[in-house]
């Protein structure tokens, strides 16, 4: 009897949970409402079977329990009953399969007028590419990938020259236009998922896969990687912003074409020396850094990274958090660099400064051996030797100021740095730093970085 009551409660509870729980599909933002419809049909069919079979089960337990009955019925088979059950089950299955196949037929049939966007997955971030005016994406290959050409676009392919490169995990799309997303991975399997769009597909190195959808609702949606892609799988996030045509066009125009990205003019180091005078006050004349003034070493750091950070300080993407005491000091300093050219120049000057490894300070007591295991995760982006890898947007670590790395890891962990919506790369470090579960782990990993030559 207790069993029957529990079975009954579980059936009723399950149905109530389904009806009342607040956890259900996120509001849809694409044309794939028919997927939701298929899910609803499936819920109805399976729900009826679930309730019917289990209530019958509970009833049998009560009605035919030993004591209430004295003898079981001997009936080896009942062809008629079994036949009916086969027919009914087949009908139920067909009722789910038929609409399913119809929807799938739509999914495999990409509309002819669909626009194209390429989604590129790498451990562990997203970037995107739009075909330029010619409407055709340039060819690509893993062997073309380098710091200057992180997308691996064939430099000799004329179609690729006008491709617009979005080296950022945030993608914008215009509303109401069907898009065919070509999916490409340069390392391992990934999966492009936007829960509100309903559709998803794996990215497979060596193949170009695709899916299509029409964004139907303006807003900002999460992009998740949903195919296990290594230790930092959970940090591989992005955003899709769906907006009107005009906003989309403006956004797209703010990104460089492939040809432009290959022709980045180097800054003028001589002109930059003047600008650097302001920096030298704290960072030292040779950019060697000064722990007393909380100024990290600059010499030897990647120019692309210095440039990005200066821009962040200038625009408030960094150094605006109230608890970021020293970051706040950099904001007015960066403001002294009037324009992009000034930033390019000062960065070019820093590149000429001699690069002596910073001497270890705070991490002498750390356990570098423990840190070496932790560093394997860091090494995937920053390079096994901590040399910094532009293609993965990861700055150099080896020979840089160790106390500064400790401070920054703590800042990332505490949300002081990287949480700003415009700091597109910092968010990833927030999750990564959270994985360093205590201060000892932070010091150990930095201690290991100190041992890198």
């Amino acid at each position: 009897m207790a069993l029957a009551i529990v079975l009954l409660l579980l059936v009723v509870g399950s149905v109530l949970f389904h009806v009342l729980s607040p956890w259900y599909f996120t509001p849809i933002a694409s044309n794939w409402g028919m997927i939701d419809d298929t899910v609803h049909i499936t819920f109805w069919v399976t729900g009826i079977v679930f309730v019917a079979v289990n209530l019958f089960l509970a009833w049998c337990v009560v009605r035919y329990r030993h004591g209430k009955v004295k003898h079981a019925m001997y009936e080896p088979e009942n062809k008629k009953l079994e036949g009916w059950l086969v027919v009914l089950t087949s009908v139920g299955v067909a009722a789910m399969l038929a609409p399913g196949l119809v929807v799938w037929a739509k999914f495999v049939d990409v509309p002819k007028d669909a626009a194209v966007v390429e989604v590129v997955g790498k451990q562990w971030y997203w970037s995107y590419r739009f075909p330029g005016a010619d409407g055709v994406l340039g060819t690509d290959d893993a062997r073309f990938i380098s710091d200057k050409n992180p997308f691996g676009i064939n430099p000799d392919d004329p179609h690729g020259q006008d491709d617009v490169l979005i080296a950022s995990p945030e993608l914008h799309l215009p509303m109401g236009k069907p898009y065919k997303a070509l999916l490409r991975s340069t390392d391992v399997l990934h999966d492009f998922t936007v829960p509100q769009f309903r559709v998803k597909m794996d990215l497979v190195p060596g193949l170009v896969t695709h899916l299509w959808f029409t964004p139907t609702r303006a807003g900002k949606f999460d992009v998740l990687c949903e195919e296990l892609c290594g230790v930092a799988h959970f940090t591989m996030r992005g955003k899709v912003v769906v907006e009107d045509d005009a906003a989309f066009t403006t956004w797209l125009a703010s990104y460089p074409t492939f040809a432009q990205s290959m022709k980045q003019v180097a800054g003028d180091a001589v002109a930059g020396q003047q600008g650097f005078a302001v920096c030298a006050g704290c960072h030292g004349a040779q950019g060697e850094g000064n722990p007393q003034l909380n100024a990290p070493k600059l010499a030897g750091q990647g120019d692309w990274y210095l440039k990005r950070q200066l821009q962040y300080f200038k625009t408030g993407a960094r150094g605006a958090h109230e608890k970021d005491t020293f970051g706040k000091m950099m904001a007015p300093m960066a403001a002294t660099l009037a324009d992009e050219a000034a930033i390019d120049n000062v960065v070019a000057y820093i590149k000429t400064l001699p690069d002596q490894p910073a001497s270890p300070t705070v991490t002498k007591q750390s356990h570098a051996a423990d840190g070496s295991t932790l560093y394997q995760t860091c090494g995937v982006c920053h390079g096994a030797g901590g040399q910094g890898v532009q293609a993965t947007n990861a700055p150099r670590l080896k020979g840089m100021s160790d106390w500064y790395m400790v401070t920054q890891l703590k800042n990332f962990k505490n949300g002081v740095r990287g949480a700003h919506p415009k700091d597109l790369y910092g968010q990833q470090m927030v999750w990564m730093a959270a994985a360093l579960t205590n201060d000892a782990a932070i010091e150990n990993v930095v201690g290991y970085i100190n041992t890198l030559k």
């Binding site: 337990v61 079981a72 080896p76 009942n78 799938w104 495999v108 710091d147 999460d222 892609c229 394997q376």
Partner: protein, 595 residues
């Protein structure tokens, strides 16, 4: 009109060949360590599998701690989390469930239930266990090597499984692949034994259509495993070569850590096809023995013949056959040619028909039965309830467009745990409560058994039912931490806390079960030879526990099917398979009406 019981006959074919003399071990070591007795090998398999399963249970607890209480436990970092996930999955699927159902129950039950003295190749059977143990030790060794065990997920998808962005990409993955290869070698030795014993070792009168469904389930699962494991074997070898020798079976040209690798031209999707060509039948390798065993538990405890025996046998065969042409439903979003979706969605939903029939027949066996709610019966009914839920959610994932939003989310995790973790484990428990008296001569303690059942059954439902809704919401699987998304409300976190609490309770109550196993071995009530009043041959042995050779001086002859329960007019409510037909008086209409 006389009422004749189903499939009863007085004719038993004569002996065709003389029995060979069994080799009886003379030393203690020969009897219990290097044993060739299938019953001892069964216990060895079972104890090893349960031990390694406990390791995997602890790993699942650690995983749940991280998901329920993120950033609380400092020793769980993203690497160790993925290592827990991977080792938990692989151990539970292969080293626990496959080994326990086939190596454990298969070894114990096949010879006893078909009326054989032992497996047909006892020496190979012994080697099978020791190779399995070696595979387990190799796997456990990966916890102690530099970098720890692999964290590639139990699916081991390349390229990431062998690249440095994944934990255990040096030692761990190699130990995993080599361990799997040894497991398969060991299994093949055992598996050939089980198949040949069922086909060639049956006693006189035991026709195929008189086999208990337990034997049918284990037999078909073994056939599936013999056909499916080679696909995993070759993929393990190929991935090892890719990793150690730099071949490119599964490795395309790619850039890792900013450096281009030497590989080119390989196909990661090829690995997935090989893996799931093994992996889907693997689901039925675990499920079919459970189906078979639960059929017998229900029939025995409902004191009623299994409903639609022939349909049940054909359903097992149909499921076995179909299970080889549904594998790519695990790959709808893998980037394979999307047109495959039409074919695999259709075959997948077709396989639901024979599966549903089995469920109907279990429930219809209870219908008009005489239900004894023994502990094994509780587990059997708990299985039916859980399996109905898990089977139905399979119809979501098998139907290709419905899979799009749900694939790779917690919905998948919830589904496969319901259908191939909790369901089979409930049967494992039911089967242990059922056959423990035959193995030891003592009953397991009933009170402890009931507590164990209620907490496990209700607890696991509380773990996995809400988890489906996290998946529908869009919470991805294999995520160390999920904060920082806009679409997941804070309330979803409370679901995770609840699930973790339920999981820890369920894990803790397994200690009670282990205690019961030990306590009852010494203090349990003596069971006698046939405590459940069952018909099948293992309950008709002259001694309990059965001695080496099982059946005393002469093997039993079989006169009837395994399901003569509550036959009208019979003296008792069961007739053993080896009981010759009496010259019974015609059954009167009054006797029939009583039934």
């Amino acid at each position: 009109m006389t009422y004749v019981t189903h499939d009863e006959s007085a004719f038993v074919p004569p002996v065709e060949v003389d029995e060979p003399e069994l080799y009886h071990a003379k030393t203690w070591i020969g009897k219990y360590v290097w044993s060739q007795d299938a019953k001892v090998i069964a216990v060895q398999y079972s104890l090893t599998a349960i031990f390694v399963g406990l390791v995997a249970l602890v790993l699942s607890g650690l995983m749940r701690l991280q998901l329920g209480f993120p950033h609380t436990f400092q020793f769980i970092n993203p690497s160790s989390y993925l290592q827990f996930v991977t080792m938990h999955g692989m151990i539970m699927v292969i080293y626990l469930l496959t080994a326990l159902f086939l190596g454990g129950f298969g070894n114990y039950l096949i010879p006893l239930m078909v009326g054989a003295r032992d497996m047909v190749f006892p020496y190979v059977n012994m080697v099978s266990y020791w190779v399995y143990l070696f595979a387990v030790l190799l796997l456990l060794a990966s916890f102690f090597v530099p970098g720890g065990p692999t964290g590639a997920g139990w699916t081991l998808y390349p390229p990431q499984a062998i690249l440095s962005g994944t934990p255990g990409a040096n030692w761990g993955i190699i130990l995993m692949l080599v361990s799997l290869a040894f497991f398969i070698i060991g299994f093949t030795m055992g598996g050939l034994n089980y198949v040949v014993t069922v086909l060639q070792g049956r006693t006189r009168g035991m026709t195929l259509m008189r086999l208990p469904l337990t034997v049918w389930g284990i037999f078909m699962a073994t056939v599936l495993a013999l056909l499916a494991f080679p696909a995993l074997f070759v993929s393990a070898i190929m991935m090892t070569l890719d990793h150690l020798l730099g071949t490119s079976f599964f490795m395309p040209a790619l850039v890792s850590q900013g450096k281009g690798l030497e590989h080119s031209g390989g196909s990661p999707v090829l690995f997935q096809h090989l893996f799931w060509f093994f992996g889907h039948p693997e689901v039925y390798i675990v499920a079919l023995p459970a189906f078979g065993i639960v059929s017998d538990l229900i029939s025995i405890n409902a004191r009623r013949n299994i409903f639609g025996y022939r349909m049940m046998v054909w359903a097992i065969l149909a499921i076995g056959g179909l299970s080889f042409i549904v594998w790519a439903h695990h790959m709808y979003v893998s980037g394979m040619n999307p047109y495959f979706g039409f074919f695999f969605a259709t075959t997948t939903l077709i396989i639901a028909v024979p599966t549903a029939l089995k469920v109907y027949n279990w429930v219809l066996t209870l219908w008009r039965g005489d239900i004894h709610l023994t502990v094994p019966m509780l587990f059997a009914i708990g299985f039916v309830f859980t399996f109905v839920n898990g089977g139905l959610t399979g119809l979501f994932l098998g139907n290709v467009p419905v899979d799009l939003p749900l694939s790779d989310t917690m919905f998948v995790v919830a589904h496969f745990h319901m259908v191939m973790a909790v369901s089979p484990i409930l049967v494992v428990f039911g089967a242990i409560y059922h056959w423990y008296p035959k193995v030891t001569g003592r009953m397991l303690n009933d009170t402890m058994g009931r507590w164990h059942f209620w907490i496990t059954f209700v607890g696991t439902y509380c773990i996995y039912y809400p988890m489906h809704y996290l998946g529908i919401l869009g919470v991805p699987r294999r995520y160390y931490a999920i904060e920082g998304t806009d679409f997941i409300p804070q309330s979803a976190h409370s679901v995770n806390v609840g699930i973790t609490v339920a999981a820890l309770i369920v894990a803790a109550v397994q200690i009670l079960f282990l205690y019961n196993l030990v306590w009852s071995y010494f203090r349990g009530k003596p069971s006698g030879g046939n405590p459940w009043r069952a018909t099948t041959l293992e309950w008709q042995t002259p001694e309990t526990p059965p001695k080496h050779g099982n059946f005393g001086p002469t093997l039993p002859a079989v006169y009837r099917w395994a399901y003569d329960y509550s036959v009208p007019g019979a003296a008792e409510d069961f007739i053993p398979q080896n009981q010759p037909p009496a010259k019974a008086a015609p059954i009167t209409p009054a006797a029939r009406a009583r039934a």
